[in-house]
Each structure stands twice: as structure tokens, then as C-alpha cells.
């Protein structure tokens, strides 16, 4: 009872705006603090005996890589909301997430490349992990193009939802590509069956950075959703304006 009430409350755009206005400053603060801690810890982390100081790239590469997949998952849930409940807030959530997800994916690609040069001797290699992430990036761009190309938001939302759900099959492919194909890329060492194999000295900074980046995503996403709601309000008002002038 209580839960459904909160949910319907949240689903009302005006209530959503009011609520997020209150929690956004706290979220932003928490993000900043955690990022500071994470950055300090990763600066203090020892060098790896194999990788040397370049292991520091891990602390930003891995959170970005995780988020690139997580954001698509968030969009998939929103897509279900669009198709099953036809709820406009789900449309808003999906649309606002796409550019942020694209940015994280871009960063995962770039930091990965910059790490690959010292480690593998090349910036880019057409292997399964790398390419499936590139495909993810292309699909983010495709979705953004779709949102821009179609001016009627609810029509765009439904098409984007179908596409998001179909594209979600790429996520397990990215995750398990290192197991299914023998590739250059590291197999999973943090999130795997049988526990993490990573040394504690690297694990802690990594986890803090991962949480910090996740909070960053939540903050940015909520803010972008607010913008999107306002954009729709502007659109509606402009339409009313046109109608009032026509009458």
C-alpha cells in the first residue's frame, strides 16, 4: 500500500520534479565526496608487479565499462515501462539515459585503448570484447539519432523501447565475450563465480570508484530527466500557444 503510493507519487511528473529538487543536492555532494576518496585511494595504490603504474587506468576504465552496460539495462527497464504501462516518465528516463550511457561507453573505449597501447602494444584490436563494446556505442548513437530524428516524443519512445529491448542481448555478449572467445582482454576478476581474484590493494579503490561513478550516473540521470520533463512542458505550452492563436 505504502509502496504503491510512493510509486504513483513518483510517477507524477510534478511530484517527481519536486522530489528530485530536494534530493539532487545531497546526491551531488555524496558523489563529490566519494569521487575524492576514490581518487585519493587510487593515487595511493601500489604499482602492479606486471602492469606497473598503468594499473591506475583500471580505476577509471572498469567503472566506466560497468556503467556502459548498466545504463543500457536501466534503459531496458524503462523500455518495459514504456511498452507495458505506456508511462511518459519511462519515456523520459530512457531518453535522458542515452547520452549519458554513450558518454560512459565512449570513456570505456578510450581508456581501454589508452591502456591497451602499453599492455598489448596496440590501441585497437578487432576482438570480441572490444568490438561488442564498440557496437554498444554505435547502438547508443543510433538511439540518440532516433530520438532526435522523430519529433513526436511518444512515437519515438515506443520505437526506441523496442530497439532498446532488442539491443539488450548485446549486454550478456559483452559480459561473457571474454569467456566465449579467447581474446586479448582480461577475463572477469571482480564479479565472477567463486569470488574476486583481485588483490585487496586494488579492489578497494576500484569499488569506491565504481560506487562514486554509479552515484554520478544517478545524479546526472535525474537531472537530465528533469530537463526532459521541462522540455516536454515547453513543447506542450508551445502547442497550446499555437492553438490559442489559431482560435
Amino acid at each position: 500500500m505504502k509502496l504503491t503510493e510512493t510509486l504513483t507519487d513518483l510517477a507524477n511528473p510534478t511530484r517527481f520534479l519536486a522530489l528530485t529538487a530536494r534530493i539532487l543536492p545531497w546526491l551531488a555532494g555524496a558523489t563529490a565526496i566519494l569521487l575524492a576518496i576514490g581518487l585519493y585511494q587510487s593515487a595511493m595504490a601500489p604499482d602492479d608487479y606486471q602492469q606497473g603504474a598503468t594499473v591506475k587506468i583500471m580505476f577509471i576504465h572498469v567503472p566506466n565499462a560497468w556503467l556502459s552496460m548498466f545504463v543500457w539495462s536501466v534503459m531496458s527497464v524503462a523500455a518495459l515501462g514504456t511498452l507495458v504501462w505506456r508511462h511518459p516518465l519511462a519515456d523520459v528516463a530512457a531518453k535522458a539515459a542515452a547520452p549519458i550511457g554513450a558518454a560512459f561507453t565512449f570513456l570505456a573505449l578510450v581508456t581501454g585503448s589508452l591502456w591497451g597501447r602499453p599492455m598489448w602494444g596496440t590501441y585497437w584490436e578487432w576482438d570480441a570484447r572490444l568490438t561488442s563494446v564498440l557496437i554498444l556505442f554505435l547502438m547508443y548513437l543510433g538511439l540518440m539519432a532516433l530520438w532526435r530524428a522523430v519529433e513526436d516524443p511518444s512515437r519515438a519512445a515506443r520505437a526506441a523501447a523496442v530497439l532498446t529491448l532488442v539491443g539488450a542481448i548485446n549486454i550478456p555478449i559483452i559480459k561473457f565475450s571474454v569467456d566465449w572467445w579467447n581474446t586479448l582482454h582480461q577475463p572477469a576478476s571482480v564479479i565472477r563465480m567463486g569470488g574476486s581474484t583481485l588483490d585487496k590493494a586494488f579492489l578497494w579503490p576500484l569499488l569506491v570508484m565504481a560506487i562514486a561513478f554509479s552515484l554520478l550516473f544517478v545524479t546526472l540521470h535525474l537531472a537530465a530527466m528533469r530537463n526532459e520533463i521541462l522540455r516536454r512542458r515547453v513543447r506542450n505550452l508551445q502547442m497550446m500557444q499555437a492553438n490559442q492563436q489559431a482560435a
Binding site: 513526436d152 516524443p153 513543447r235 506542450n236 502547442m239 492553438n243 489559431a246
Partner: protein
């Protein structure tokens, strides 16, 4: 059988087309939807046909086939006539007859009923505007559907064609069907009027 819509509202392209619309029609009855250009007649028919989702309101078909949705018990005759120019007249009709399924009538008879039997083997690309419309009407006859949703059905028909179509609508009503037709011209049969307002 009774088709009723309650409190219907339709939004297209972000603009409200109509709202608070109620309608009902029973077996043997025809409803003529009239109103100026852009009033929302076509939109209403498409909502009833299930091709548009109403923003508000509900539609019910009482005493119809409980296993089938309204759309599955309805014929929709729109501006676009669902004909493939590359197929012959007979092939076009036979395809819809088989695909739509249900209780069917002989395709040749239906073509004869709309006076197109002499053209059965012509490609549909060769038909004149009125002949295309006649072929669409033959589709209504070839498969039985109790509800007919017609959008300006007599446009492009000549005088003989209009008389023929009036006869076909009468037969349909007499056999317990119901008709909802958007039109600017008198329908030619007894019909209740549903007047829609709105701008040109």
C-alpha cells in the same frame, strides 16, 4: 449486438482531435459520422478499428463473438484501398478472402455483385478510381464481418455504383450487421447522425 464507445478522446501528433465523445449503434442500425474536414471522422473510425489507441475512454461490443476482439469482427474501408497493382483483380480479392478468414463467399460472386467480373483477370494497376473502390467493396462482401467501418465509401463511385452500394448496405443491415460510416454526402439509407465539430 451493440457497439458503444464511452468518453472517447483521441490525440494525434500531440494535438487533441476530439474528446468526450459517446456513441452507440445496435444490430441493423447505421450511424453516419459527419462534420467538417479535419473534425476527426477518420480518426474515430480508426480508433474503433483498433488502429489508433484512444487517449481516454473505452469501447465495447456487446453480444458479439466473445472470443474475438472488435477489430477482428469488423471490416475497415479506408481511403487507401489495400490493392496490389501487380496482382490481378481476382488475385487481390482471393488473397484478402483467404487471409481475413471466417465465413467466406465465393470470390466470383462478389466481383459480379460490384460489376467487376469482366475485369477479373486485369492487373489491379489498370483499374480506374471507381473500379478500385468497387473492388474494395467486393472485399467487404467476400468475408462476413458484422461491423462495417466505412470512410467515405461512395467517393469515386458513379451513380449506378452508389445505388448498388446502397443496396449492399441495406442487405448488410437486414442480416443483422451494423454500419458506421464517415461521409460528406447523404448515405442513401436511414441512418442516425453523429455530428462532430471542429475546425476545417
Amino acid at each position: 449486438m451493440r457497439l458503444s464507445g464511452r468518453n472517447l478522446k483521441c490525440v494525434r501528433g500531440g494535438r487533441e482531435v476530439f474528446s468526450d465523445l459517446d456513441l452507440s449503434a445496435t444490430s441493423g442500425e447505421a450511424l453516419a459520422v459527419t462534420g467538417p474536414n479535419g473534425a476527426g471522422k477518420t480518426s474515430l473510425l480508426r480508433v474503433l478499428a483498433g488502429l489508433l489507441v484512444p487517449a481516454e475512454g473505452s469501447i465495447a461490443l456487446e453480444a458479439g463473438d466473445a472470443e474475438l476482439s472488435l477489430a477482428e469482427q469488423a471490416h475497415y474501408l479506408g481511403h487507401r484501398d489495400a490493392l496490389k497493382p501487380a496482382l490481378s483483380v481476382m488475385e487481390n480479392l482471393s488473397f484478402w478472402r483467404e487471409f481475413l478468414g471466417g465465413e467466406t463467399k465465393d470470390a466470383g460472386h462478389c466481383l459480379a455483385a460490384v460489376a467487376l467480373d469482366h475485369a477479373a483477370h486485369l492487373p489491379a494497376a489498370y483499374l480506374s478510381a471507381g473500379q478500385r473502390r468497387r473492388l474494395s467493396i467486393a472485399r467487404l462482401l467476400s468475408v462476413r464481418r458484422p461491423v462495417w467501418l466505412l470512410d467515405e465509401p461512395t467517393s469515386a463511385l458513379d451513380a449506378a455504383g452508389q445505388a448498388m452500394f446502397i443496396g449492399l448496405m441495406r442487405d448488410h443491415l437486414a442480416s443483422g450487421g451494423l454500419i458506421i460510416a464517415a461521409t460528406h454526402l447523404p448515405l442513401g439509407i436511414d441512418a442516425r447522425d453523429l455530428r462532430m465539430g471542429g475546425a476545417a
